[in-house]
């Protein structure tokens, strides 16, 4: 089965990122396809490369990047939600005249149309949120 995943909550604040990661790994293991993971609301904070949790804790953002690298999972951060919360890739930072960017490897920033497209293309959409 082909899945689109929507992650609506930020890492650490809420378990939805961990649950989504566990669901995706289990689905891939069973031979399912993850068409896209879309990050919305505070979920966009899953895509920062500047998180430094305590050493004995998991680094959620790295787990997403690893998923993209190992399985080619498409990780898309909503641009409107990202702009509100200060998530920037290099192009967007330049466009906005900002002096830094903070997006983690494997993520890309795009529009809400990518969510709707994912909903249309996938057999099932699974929402992880509050």
């Amino acid at each position: 089965m082909k899945f689109t995943i929507l992650v609506n909550e930020g890492p650490y604040q809420h378990q939805s990122s961990d649950s989504a990661l566990q669901f995706i790994r289990a689905a891939l293991e069973k031979g399912h396809e993850i068409f896209r993971v879309f990050f919305y609301h505070d979920g966009v904070n899953n895509g920062t490369r500047l998180a430094v949790p305590p050493k004995d804790d998991r680094l959620i953002q790295n787990e997403w990047s690893a998923l993209a690298e190992e399985h080619g999972v498409d990780l898309v951060i909503c641009i409107a939600a990202a702009q509100r919360r200060g998530l920037m890739d290099a192009d967007e930072a330049k466009r906005q005249g900002l002096d830094a960017n903070n997006i983690a490897p494997g993520f890309r920033i795009s529009g809400l149309g990518q969510l709707i497209d994912g909903n249309i293309e996938a057999d099932r959409t699974v929402v992880f949120g509050d």
Binding site: H41, A81, I116, I120
Partner: protein, 133 residues
């Protein structure tokens, strides 16, 4: 191919950003020409309550946007009766949201439909994509 999309609105309009950002997704889905419905349950019923005024909290009000959704062919607003009753609200406390029916000489019709919890479950079961905010 068009799918049946349902946006489930469960949160009050202010206090968290869910309602505003949900509305932004609804507008994009409408642009993709999908069959879009909205459900209002729990505190979500406050999103379409009459007479909202955000001046005192310093936030931009967006309640007028719900009334504009009819222009994007978004005209199925399912509101759960039990959620209204639990909050001491009736249909009269909701904004009179309408759309123009192109199949009926552009007659103005109400978008809001009050349904029971059981009917809401039935409507939800008929959807292809359910996004909960």
């Amino acid at each position: 191919m068009s799918k049946k999309f349902m946006y489930v609105n469960r949160k009050a309009p202010y206090g968290t950003v869910y309602a505003l950002e949900s509305l932004e997704v609804v507008l994009i889905a409408a642009a993709f020409e999908q069959d879009v419905s909205l459900a209002f349950i729990d505190d979500g019923v406050y999103q379409i309550a009459k007479g909202q005024d955000t001046k005192g909290i310093g936030m931009k009000g967006f309640s007028a946007t719900y009334n504009a959704l009819g222009d994007y062919d978004v005209n199925k607003f399912y509101v759960e009766r039990e959620s209204l009753e639990e909050r001491g609200l009736t249909e009269d406390d909701l904004m009179p949201i309408v759309y123009e029916d192109e199949d009926d000489d552009w007659a103005e019709k109400p978008s809001v439909k009050i349904v029971s919890r059981a009917e809401m479950a039935q409507v939800l079961s008929e959807q292809d994509v359910t996004l909960s905010f």
